[in-house]
């Protein structure tokens, strides 16, 4: 172990180019190696996943469209891998974006209520409830969505289609039973709501008292105080929270699989069945009966999901970093 290393180890360390400002011996050194190791491990895992996906997907990537459709029963005729993955990517992004659009405003509202409006006792009770929601397995959400929520929600979807049908998103007729994208999006929103709410709540509670009082002393109402002091301070935190939610929505499998009637179109019609499918649900649906090349194709779609998730996260970080000077961290 490094703790028992004899003193002669020191001279080479002293010759290192980077100047060390703190003495780094004993436990301190152990901790440094532990944290460096943990940091390196996450990179290793990420690289391993990427390599695994690439290697396993390679047969499908290198095979032509004709070969794929000849050897994989569910692979469409006259398609190649790109035209096969395209609609799945579209469906995945649509489901996640809709879920996020529903969940984020709601989560910010709930978190603000808990952190700045609710009486203290109610706030902590609500906090527990939100945390409990996060502990429900996704298959339960899927069951609830398919068996309870979908039948209940049909009249609403029908009304949406008949009144707002001119808007492409709500083009009718609404399918009955409503095993449609909007139902999925609502269930996904319910699933990602707790994590977004919990993170937002923590961030809102971190707002410096000093800044809240600065706003109040200028004659701000409660809402104005939230708007001038709390929300700007929490902006990057809200983005991070949404990204956590988005990651879960992008990869969610069971709930989508159990609710959505799949299709492979580039369609915005979220009230009609048989229009879209997500990558994760497609993998789960096709995997059990897939031949080797089929598995490889599915893994290629998984690779696409991996790339999307990374791209979305990097984009979010870029957005947060753009106004770094104004973050209050300096």
């Amino acid at each position: 172990m490094t703790t028992t290393a004899p003193p002669p180890a020191a001279p080479p360390a002293a010759r290192r180019r980077r100047r060390r400002t703190t003495s780094d011996t004993g436990l301190s050194r152990v901790f440094r190696w532990l944290s460096t190791g943990a940091g390196a491990l996450i990179l290793l895992v990420l690289a391993a996943v990427a390599i695994f996906l690439l290697i396993e997907a390679w047969p499908a990537i290198s095979a032509g469209g004709d070969e794929l459709s000849a050897r994989v029963s569910w692979f469409p005729e006259d398609a190649n891998l790109v035209t096969f993955v395209g609609p799945l990517v579209f469906g995945t992004l649509l489901a996640a974006a809709l879920a996020l659009a529903i969940a984020t405003p709601l989560a910010v509202g709930i978190a603000l209520f808990i952190s700045h409006y609710a009486p203290r006792r109610l706030a902590s009770a609500l906090g527990y409830v939100v945390d409990l929601l996060a502990a429900i397995p996704s298959v339960v959400y899927g069951l609830w969505g398919a068996l309870t929520f979908a039948p209940l929600v049909y009249p609403v979807w029908d009304w949406l289609a008949s009144t707002l049908g001119w808007f492409p998103l709500f083009a009718g007729p609404a399918s009955q039973p409503p095993r449609v994208m909007l139902t999925v999006a609502v269930v996904l929103a319910a699933m990602i709501l707790p994590i977004i709410t919990a993170v937002c709540r923590e961030v809102f509670l971190q707002t410096p008292r000093l800044h809240e009082e600065a706003a109040l002393a200028l004659g701000a109402t409660r809402w104005e105080m939230v708007r001038t002091a709390v929300l700007p301070f929490a902006r990057s935190g809200i983005v991070s929270a949404s990204m956590l939610g988005l990651g879960r929505a992008l990869g969610e499998t069971m709930a989508v699989l159990m609710i959505l009637s799949p299709g492979t179109l580039y369609s915005f019609a979220v009230l009609q069945a048989g229009q879209q499918q997500t990558i994760a649900a497609n993998i789960a649906a096709q995997y059990p009966e897939a031949p080797p090349l089929g598995v490889s194709t599915l893994i290629a779609t998984g690779l696409a999901l991996f790339v999307i998730t990374m791209a979305v996260n990097m984009a979010a970080r870029a957005i947060v970093a753009r106004r770094k000077d104004f973050s209050g961290a300096n």
Binding site: E213, G219, P232, N330
Partner: protein
């Protein structure tokens, strides 16, 4: 626009705990009134009752009256938000909004009070407020940079500019120089001397020389012991308070023989 404040029989509570007991005083318009006293004697608590910031803390409340030109700030129909728009406040630690530029910071209060302001009016107000806070020359070339990038003393003057931009009647300062170096402190003190031509100023300070330098009247608060309420011991012209106070406790405190 400066106004006079009459405080009568004011008891200040945190929940059931009586923090400051039975304060009565008059704060004259267009003058500087300094509150001095040992830590924990309730002077900061008291100053926060003058703009109803005290009640922001859960469970905090007051009994008695604080009247500005005869109108009780704690009357039933008085909106605390309206009170705070008339009584500006500068805090112990500089607290410009970190997510806003220097310009946005100055305009923050104005944007709350009457949402719309033309660009030329806004620019004029930013300049006059920053000039009023003796900060214009230092920041005029970087109005769009974040306020948190300024030095501590500049930040505090930015906070003063932000407070006077809404043209309050009264300006409260809770130890405005305690986090600043002597040069920044001097800049703020000069500023206070100018501001008193237009505003009623109340300042809490731990620095007795500062109280002697900037104030016209001084109030001395003291506390009998831990857990006891703070009290106003005496109040008078600053010159008198520092030369011949009527109370022994005041004399002990200002001469450093406290205890």
């Amino acid at each position: 626009m400066a106004q006079r404040i009459d405080v009568k029989d004011l008891n200040i509570y945190y929940g059931d705990f009586l923090a400051v007991e039975d304060v009565s005083m008059t704060i004259e318009p267009r003058s500087v009134t300094a509150f001095i006293g040992p830590s924990g004697c309730g002077k900061s608590t008291f100053i926060r009752t003058l703009n109803r910031m005290h009640e922001v803390i859960p469970g905090a409340r007051v009994e008695g009256t604080v009247a500005m030109e005869g109108v009780d700030l704690y009357g039933d129909e008085v909106d605390p938000v309206a009170v705070r728009r008339q009584v500006g406040m500068v805090f112990q630690r500089p607290n410009p909004f970190p997510t806003m530029s220097i310009k946005e910071n100055v305009l923050a209060g104005v944007k709350l009070n009457n949402k719309r302001i033309s660009k030329s009016d806004a620019d004029a107000l930013v300049e006059s407020s920053l000039r009023g806070a003796n900060l214009w020359n230092e920041v005029k070339d970087r109005l769009d940079r974040p306020g948190s990038g300024l030095s501590g003393g500049q930040q505090q003057r930015l906070c003063i500019a932000r407070a006077i931009a809404v043209k309050p009647q009264v300006l409260l300062m809770d130890e405005p120089c305690s986090a600043l170096d002597p040069i920044s402190t001097l800049a703020i003190e000069d500023l206070i001397a100018e501001l008193k031509n237009d505003y009623t100023i109340v300042i809490v300070t731990h620095n007795m020389q500062q109280a002697a330098r900037v104030s016209d009247r001084t109030a001395f608060f003291n506390i009998a012991g831990t857990g006891m309420p703070g009290k106003l011991i005496e109040m008078g012209d600053t010159a008198t308070m520092f030369s011949s106070p009527t109370q022994q406790a005041t004399e002990d405190y200002i001469s450093g023989r406290f205890g």
